[in-house]
């Protein structure tokens, strides 16, 4: 499958990536190559095989309903570019 530049522009935007127009064409080529490579998997006959979300034949580890984490707002906020009191602060967003 080949991606066109409009699709690349759209998915870059969805990922909040700024791609200069000049880079769109080469990136479309690179992404198309990656998809083409992965598409080789389509050659495997999967008739009658339910789509898998994991190849591990196991059930997930579940946690008990116990509070054993949290209570460290300083650590949570340590890497925040901006904070006010115990809040994260971001540029104003109002819909």
């Amino acid at each position: 499958m080949a991606l066109d530049t409009d699709t690349v522009r759209r998915i870059a935007r969805l990922a909040r990536l700024h791609i200069p127009d000049a880079d769109l064409e080469p990136l479309a080529g690179e992404l198309s190559n990656i998809i083409g490579w992965v598409e080789q998997l389509a050659e495997v006959d999967t008739d009658g095989v339910a789509p898998m979300t994991s190849v591990v034949e196991t059930t997930p580890h579940l946690r008990d309903d116990v509070v054993n984490d949290g209570g460290y707002p300083d650590r949570v906020l340590a890497n925040a570019p901006d904070a006010e009191g115990e809040f994260f602060a971001v540029p104003k967003v109002i819909e």
Partner: protein, 508 residues
């Protein structure tokens, strides 16, 4: 029907066929049918979050109930809280729904400052609960059924606070990662009243199950309401989605406003936009929230950090066997066992706490008091006073057993129903036992024939004119005599006895 196949992002197929003439809304150019579906977000009752060990309690200091998982720090991995899954299954059972023994968590991708992961972990194609159905009662005694499309588990986002700073939005991640059940109805709802009644019934079921506290003022339950209108029998119209409506009253108001808006828009030659709107409770109107941004494209895919959730049927069966009696079953039992009207039974079972209080009043295990009398006392006197005092039934100053004691005094003619109301008022204020108040204030009903006779003899002697009128068949005067006799005994004479003695004495 030309509706598309079920898909929780586009229109669902209604399971309610045909329309009720009374549900149609009259426009300028003819009648319209209203089609409503609700997506309700209900916070799962649990100690810890869906994928982390941080606490879920409401009202904590900002960012104090946040783990590094909830803050989406690199390398952190989600681990499913068993209890949240168990609660979702119990809820599904309570909704009469299919339980999916295998369900899958997906990532719903979007960017917003209160969503630190850049995606919400939700369930898309394989939710934990599939189709179900509930019965909803309306205040007029009618009932209707609403199909449940699905219930899935997902994370809540954090909270954005816009009014604390002129240029900044503040973010509190305490809610981030709290488990939500999104319960999606089929578009089987036809009016604002029905939408509110559906939400009320859902809330009642969840509270009975103990899977969500249903506290809408704290955001534990909130509804996205999808509304469209069409000519009866024609294809579905374009729907608008009203986001985050947080009370039954607002749901009704929002729908009523939105229906009117859409009808007027179409009748004026316009078209309804498929868009997200918000309900402004102050103005009682819905407003478009659409920003200039392109339509959302969530690019769902299975979360590679989480294996599918699997249970065996025995686990589900054990949960089913252990469910509490739910409102419909309780209502039927109240009607069958206690002879209550459908209306009274419905009022008493709406809240589990009220039903429990009522049953404690009539004491089914022991004395088994008059259930209809008890129902009247609970729904009229007790509700009235609780309402005035802004208390709920769990805060009632009169315990159920105390109200039972009062009812005993009425039943054995110790006090009249009228005196009982005064005694109840006193009980409500002081928390004292009924018998103690009656004793202390000397409120015992006078059932001594001789005592009542002497009061009436005196009345007749003092009021010969009225007595004559009575003898000539003036029934109004009979009432006057009764009133005077009750007054003379401070309301303590047994009214039936007063009437009988009056009749005997005046030869009525």
């Amino acid at each position: 029907m030309t509706d598309t196949a079920p898909d929780h992002l586009s229109g669902h197929v209604t399971t309610r066929i045909g329309h009720n003439q009374k549900d149609l809304v009259e426009g300028a150019t003819g009648p319209w049918e209203v089609i409503i579906g609700l997506e309700v977000h209900a916070q799962v009752t649990s100690e810890a979050k869906l994928f982390s060990g941080a606490a879920t309690a409401f009202g904590a200091e900002p960012n104090t109930q946040v783990s590094l998982v909830d803050a989406a720090m690199p390398g952190m991995l989600p681990v499913i809280n068993r209890e949240c899954a168990r609660q979702a299954i119990r809820t599904g059972l309570g909704l009469g729904a299919q339980i999916n023994l295998r369900s899958v968590f997906d990532r719903k991708n979007y960017f917003y400052p209160d969503l630190p992961q850049g995606y919400q972990i939700s369930q898309f194609t394989q939710p934990i609960v599939g189709e179900g159905r509930i019965t909803v009662d309306l205040p007029d005694g009618e009932s209707f059924e609403v199909g449940i499309e699905r219930l899935h588990l997902e994370q809540d986002a954090g909270k954005s606070i816009h009014d604390q700073h002129p240029q900044k939005t503040f973010i509190d991640l305490n809610r981030s990662g709290v488990a939500l059940m999104e319960i999606v109805s089929k578009p089987d709802i036809r009016s604002g009243e029905e939408a509110a009644a559906y939400l009320g019934k859902l809330r009642s079921i969840l509270r009975y199950l103990g899977t969500c506290d249903g506290d809408m003022s704290q955001g534990s339950m909130r509804a996205d309401v999808n509304v469209s209108v069409r000519r009866p029998g024609e294809d579905l119209g374009t729907r608008a989605e009203i986001k985050n409506v947080n009370s039954l009253r607002f749901v009704r108001q929002a729908v009523d406003y939105e229906v009117r808006r859409q009808i007027e828009l179409i009748e004026d030659g316009g078209e309804v936009d498929q868009e997200t709107r918000l309900f402004d409770a102050n103005r009682g109107e819905t407003r478009s929230m659409r920003s200039k941004e392109e339509a959302h494209d969530y690019r769902y895919f299975p979360d590679p950090d989480l294996l599918p959730l699997e249970f065996d049927q025995a686990f589900v069966d054990a949960l089913a066997a252990d469910l509490p009696e739910l409102p419909d079953a309780k209502k039927a039992r109240f009607i069958d066992d206690y002879g209550l009207s459908s209306y009274d039974a419905g009022v008493l079972v709406a809240e589990r706490e009220t039903a429990e209080y009522f049953e404690a009043v009539i004491d089914p295990a022991g004395a088994k008091r008059d259930a209809k009398l008890a129902a009247n006392w609970v729904t009229a006197e007790l509700f009235g006073r609780l309402n005035n005092a802004d208390k709920d039934i769990t805060e009632s100053p009169v315990a159920a057993v105390q109200l039972g004691g009062l009812i005993d005094l009425i039943a054995d003619d110790t006090i009249s129903g009228r005196i009982a109301k005064d005694v109840f008022a006193e009980m409500f204020d002081s928390g004292q036992e009924a018998a103690a108040i009656v004793e202390e204030k000397g409120l015992k009903q006078i059932t001594d024939t001789g005592a009542i006779e002497s009061v009436i003899d005196q009345l007749i002697a003092d009021n010969p004119d009225q007595a004559d009128q009575y003898r000539q068949g003036n029934t109004k005067v009979a009432g006057w005599f009764t009133g005077q006799a009750m007054k003379a005994t401070q309301g303590q004479a047994n009214p039936q006895m007063v009437n009988q003695i009056l009749k005997d004495k005046l030869g009525g």
